[in-house]
Amino acid sequence: MTQIFHDSDEDRRHRARWWTSRIAIYGALVLWAVICLFPIYWTITTAFKLAPDVMQGRLVPFVDFTPKWKGFEALGLSPSTIGTESTPRAEFLKRFFNSAVISVSASALAVALGSLAAYGLSRFTYRFGWMKNDDISFFFLSQLILPPVVLALPFLVLYKELALLDSRIGLILLYALTVLPIVIWIMKDQFASIPTELEEAAQVDGLSVWGAFLTIILPIALPGMVAAFILSLVLTWNEYFFAALLTSTHANTLPVMVASQTGSQGIAWWSMAALSFAAILPLIVVGVLLERYIIKGMAAGAVK
């Protein structure tokens, strides 16, 4: 049987070009994925290594080295120590718990306040002195520029007076304040995409302004709120600067613990790795599961 259709030379060249570009794209993508993921992989595996494994640079668990719970033992979290009393574990859990409480409540507070502010700004007109709506929202946004150092010391003194130093409430308030501009930014965008006719119809049907906001608008704006909440969560969970300055023993967060151990542990990589792993794990989970919302939240401001 003879071949009827031939690839002409022209086609063949085209196809070769197509293949090389495919390979280049996937090569670059895979390379970057490795750059992004290898440090995480490295940390997780190092948490299960012993000193000789670290020094000989063994990479693959079970093949190169046998995983051991040594790193988690130092934290009191390994299977052999989980039943016994352990000070490091109590310490670690306290920090972990602090971080969780502070970041969740600060984000919730910021989203609650930010949504209200953003709703107001997108639906009603205000005059505050010479400032109109746009000026007010610009004022909120401009606080993003404020570097944390500028706020640090006044807050240190203020909190000392109010006895909020080294307390969870203090950090919650401060964190809510720092993420508020971002929340307002995302939520304003979200509310702007909801047509005003919806509320007008609701008010014609006899709902008050608050009623319309709570029953009609909020459910529609929920994805935006989730996005804002997650972004705030990421920022507050990772915050180090204020936490290091404003807390000492009681309300310390996880990043402060990680930072203070960084210098002192020396070559005890396994326990540092276990600690870092514990510090990044919640956010990795959040990132993998809720990636859609995060991207949506960050994209909100970009396309305008």
Partner: protein, 272 residues
């Protein structure tokens, strides 16, 4: 609102006082002495200069982020996997990252990067030894964390470009580089500028990884303004002076950002 305005005013008072938390006499007003001290403080100027370098590095980050966004926007398989993988660095705490990468992967004896470099024949491996190498390492670490941020904004911008436009360009015979430079890039300009501006804001706050990794060393080569003031507060308890530095920094930032936004507004204004 009052929560930010009040501290600012209060900070202004402190800035012009001689106040060391470890001294007994407490706070005394000393007028412009702090300003004079700042003028002659080489480390503060050095930190400011470093900020300029760090900010310039954003252009490289931008180029990489744009490339990644373009690839993610192309017809590829496993797009979701790559998107999640590329996003993850942004989620990690900078403090943990500075240990994960800075202290362990870049460790000169046992770290995998040092090992790989030795395999390639580089003998003297040290990432925080000489000033410029240390600066570059900090830049890379920070880039690692924040490239995803710009990438996502740019990706959103790319997806907002109407398909008809790129197709029309293709019909008109624009291919490859020409299509990119003459169609995609101009359309992406507003988004790019927004992304870069926001990135600059974040960059100007850079401190965590510097504090935990190098404490500003060697010889102040990696110091940022924030990390410098942090040490002024925590290690030297020099509250009045530190606050003045912070205030000066704030003024500089506001001036710089205002100029930048004015400049940017010229390019982002809707062209019809």
């Amino acid at each position: 609102v009052s929560l930010t305005v009040f501290p600012l005013l209060f900070g202004l008072i402190i800035a012009f006082s001689d106040w060391n938390l470890s001294s007994v006499q407490g706070r005394t007003f000393n007028g412009i002495d702090n300003l004079v001290q700042m003028w002659g403080d080489p480390f503060y100027w050095n930190a400011l200069l470093n900020m300029v370098w760090y900010t310039i590095a954003i252009l490289v980050e931008y180029a990489i982020a744009f490339g990644l966004a373009l690839m993610l926007n192309a017809q590829i398989r496993a797009r979701k996997f790559f998107r999640v993988a590329f996003l993850l660095p942004l989620m990690l705490s900078p403090v943990a990252v500075s240990w994960m990468i800075g202290k362990s992967m870049l460790e000169p004896r046992f770290g995998p990067v040092a090992r790989a470099l030795r395999g390639l024949g580089v003998e003297e491996v040290s990432f925080f030894g000489s000033p410029w190498v240390a600066k570059a390492t900090i830049m890379l670490l920070d880039a690692w964390t924040f490239i995803p941020f710009m990438m996502i904004m740019l990706l959103a911008g790319l997806q907002a470009i109407p398909k008809e436009l790129t197709e029309a360009a293709r019909v008109d015979g624009a291919r490859g580089w020409r299509a990119f430079w003459e169609v995609t890039f101009p359309l992406m300009l507003p988004v790019s500028i927004t992304a870069i501006l926001i990135r600059i804001i974040f960059k100007l706050k850079l401190a965590d990884i510097v504090i935990t990794l190098t404490a500003g060393g060697p010889g102040g080569a990696t110091d940022t303004v924030t990390s410098f003031i942090f040490r002024e507060y925590r290690d030297r308890s020099n509250v009045g002076y530190g606050t003045l530095l912070a205030m000066v920094y704030l003024v500089l930032i506001v001036v710089f950002m205002t100029l930048l936004m004015k400049l940017a507004a010229r390019y982002t204004a809707p062209r019809t």
